[in-house]
Subunit: 339 residues, 2 copies
């Protein structure tokens, strides 16, 4: 029986943990500042597959296999597999599910998918539905760019506000078995659309949604100590500045504890312009950068806010603006399992 | 705390009900054998909108507004909005969510989306997460056909195994408040792929997945009375025959209690070939045909098994077969609220 705290925070009653996880990326992400922390990386974006879409599916299945192995688990131990990606009809995830016996719940939350999945997995476990639930999210630079923007081979010049869709997948296995990483609460997001229509500036479109969710969390939990870190999913350089400014306008000065996964994944010298993006961005940075710091005691309480732009090429072509969403997950350090 | 029954059935502990619902369709569905039972129908597939995609979004928002009104509820009463559709990046659903203050959880289960959403909504409510949760699913013949097959204007001759994607949406509002329709259990589906690659014969591709879920339910619940009706989502004429045959091969003779939403939506004279399909098919037939019969006492226990083909045009073009899934929801008559 989860407990609702004020307007939109749900605190889980059972102790739910990230039992195991793994991250797999492409070569550009491996070459970035946190590249050494990924569990595995492909030598190139195809990794020997016949298409970028098949390569993205392999990112997902490798991540899941590694997460299972790191947790001394078998695929047969999974009671559910949840996940999504940015491809039409989420084929990278569905074709990964094909290799499993576990029931599959497909999600579409654009780049917010990881936190949507972590919320649902924790809520199911909190209700004793399943003992081990895997959550996957991925994106692939080349499969996404050609689907959502231009054929990759055209080499269209990118605007400075554009972000670089990450070639990355993360897989997280949740269970009630204690680990250093406890998921204690969640703030599910609502759709916010401030009228931005430029699909080369998704960070600006998503910033108000991130602000909405972070402000809801801070207001709901004003009697609790602040998190050590609030990290958004993929607002990038431009969007994260807007998000911090919007929060400041509401009286929340979080600058000292705020970061964005899209700003951590690449080095500015890698020419990604406004930083990283994609459902795989937060899925890779959470495992490679944040969870180790929690285990080491450098961080004790982290609000992860994965952000999603719910547009499609069709909606853009039909003149629509960009509805956005952000789901927050609170991860707290379980000191008895950390060292 | 939900209870797991044998391999894959989950029984909810709280009493969870379909508190209100509404169905909206296009003119062809209205002209069909159960057309008089839909809450509203569009005069044509555009309904005055500038595109089929915008028309599909209106199907969804009309269905939700009607479901709220029929239940004497306001949009502000919703704690969550769950749903999905077949469009790339589920824009019909995301743009419906834009008009709401409730948190949004986007789903992609192809035509199984309704039952995926009903399962998750019931599981959340069972864990006291939310008091009213809306679940939407839709499809639109013209937006889907041009996206998944050929430009609609080409008028490509359809194979006899092909089904007609329904222009339809259903919206279901779940809560613990008693109604005639109690959701007592669910059987989440796993991905099954028997190697069918023909996207003009999705019924055959999905039949093994439907069989897998129905057989799991029958085996898990062999000590309980059989449902009065087991109804699959959109296997159509061909797929539903295959499903019944596959179950018979496993020793389950369900012919007398088995039906398929895709076979009920249209009259054979409407030239739909193998029947109806689409995420809106089961979403419309459940509300228009099944729930009234439960309320009237003609049916007491119904297993609804929405079926989804998890392909995309890209996966088909890349030579892939069709992974399929089927999620089952058990709806039982609450006689104290029926008359």
């Amino acid at each position: 029986m989860a407990e609702k705290i004020n307007s939109r925070t749900y605190r889980f009653t059972r102790d739910i943990f990230i039992n195991s996880y793994a991250t797999v990326t492409g070569p550009k992400e491996y070459a970035g500042p946190i590249g050494a922390h990924f569990d595995y990386h492909f030598p190139d974006n195809l990794n020997g597959e016949a298409s970028w879409e098949k390569s993205e599916q392999k990112l997902q299945s490798y991540a899941l296999e590694l997460a299972l192995a790191k947790g001394n688990l078998e695929a047969e131990d999974l009671d559910f597999f949840l996940g999504g990606d940015l491809l039409n009809q989420i084929i990278a995830t569905s074709f990964t599910a094909r290799g499993l016996n576990a029931p599959f719940l497909g999600l579409y939350g654009a780049c917010s998918t990881l936190c949507e999945g972590l919320f649902l997995a924790a809520a199911l476990l909190d209700n004793h539905i399943g003992a081990h639930i895997a959550v996957n999210a991925s994106s692939h630079h080349d499969s996404v760019e050609r689907q959502l923007r231009y054929p990759t081979e055209m080499g269209v010049q990118r605007l400075m506000s554009a972000q670089w869709t990450a070639t990355a997948a993360g897989s997280y296995i949740l269970s009630p078995k204690p680990s250093p990483w406890q998921i204690t609460a969640a703030v599910p997001g609502r759709v916010v659309d401030w009228g931005i229509a430029d699909n080369n500036d998704l960070g600006s479109a998503m910033a108000p949604a991130a602000c909405d969710t972070i402000a809801a969390f801070l207001k709901d939990n004003q009697d609790s100590p602040l998190p050590d870190l609030i990290i958004s999913g993929d607002l990038g350089v431009l969007g994260s500045k807007i998000c911090a400014k919007l929060l400041l306008n509401q009286g929340y000065d979080i600058e000292k504890i705020y970061a964005d996964c899209g700003c951590l994944l690449y080095d500015p010298a890698q020419d990604t312009h406004s930083g990283g993006s994609g459902a795989g961005c937060s899925a890779a940075v959470l495992g490679a950068y944040i969870l180790p710091k929690i285990k080491a005691g450098e961080l004790n309480k982290v609000l992860v806010v994965a952000t999603g732009a719910l547009l499609s090429p069709t909606s853009t072509q039909q003149g629509e603006t960009i509805p956005s969403i952000a789901h927050g997950i609170l991860i707290e350090r379980n000191s008895s399992e950390s060292r």
